[in-house]
């Protein structure tokens, strides 16, 4: 019972690994949306309150 209670309290979920999902990791979905995000990040930049020195790939 204690274990069940503890599991319910967990914020970090227990995740089952499903290798069939591995193929998605290398796919670029929503290339337009990703491009838009990249453009926004380049234009707006990152928050000054968080940044020190960042690297562009």
């Amino acid at each position: 019972m204690k274990i069940t209670t503890e599991l319910k309290k967990r914020k970090i979920p227990i995740v089952k690994i499903d290798k069939s999902l591995n193929e998605y990791d290398d796919k670029i979905q929503f290339p337009e949306k990703l491009e838009k995000a990249n453009e926004m990040l380049k234009k707006v930049g990152l928050p000054k309150q968080w940044t020190s020195k960042l690297k562009y790939d």
């Binding site: 990703l34 309150q49 960042l54 690297k55």
Partner: protein, 147 residues
């Protein structure tokens, strides 16, 4: 987050998550993707319904399955799982439509007290980032795990 959420499955690298929404209408497979951007350690969160015939994600569909809070709680759970594995990561999220962005904003507002104990959250207004406040019409969100 102690709210009800769906069981999660993920890829080995935990960059793709899947869960099944069990709502009033039907079972809907949902995918959450964390995609690298041009900035190191910054990922774009993409979320939508899985199209079984193509394997693609539809991020514009309105499923209307009656379980939006549970779905949102499950997406938040993926943020916990992803940042647990990649603690230095930052996550950028925005909706594919303004309505969806607003939905995300409302979800964050609703659970703000709970998640800010674990995450820093910024909202994007124009060209500026500011600490997230409820009720503001942000265009996007930036999240990182607190140390």
């Amino acid at each position: 987050m102690k709210l009800p959420r769906y069981p999660l499955a993920s890829s080995d690298k935990m960059m793709t998550f899947e869960f099944v929404s069990e709502g009033k209408n039907r079972l809907i497979h949902k995918l959450v993707r964390y995609q690298p951007t041009n900035l190191k350690d910054l990922y774009n969160l993409a979320f939508g319904d899985k199209d079984h015939s193509t394997g693609e994600i539809d991020d514009k569909v309105i499923s209307n399955n009656g379980d939006s809070e549970k779905v949102l709680a499950t997406v938040v759970a993926t943020v916990y799982a992803f940042t647990d594995k990649y603690p230095e990561s930052w996550i950028y999220a925005t909706g594919s439509t303004k309505a969806r962005t607003r939905l995300y904003r409302m979800g964050i507002s609703k659970y703000l007290n709970e998640v800010t104990s674990d995450f820093e959250i910024l909202g994007q207004l124009g060209d500026d980032w500011e600490d997230f406040e409820g009720g503001k019409d942000y265009e996007g969100f930036l999240v990182r795990r607190k140390k």
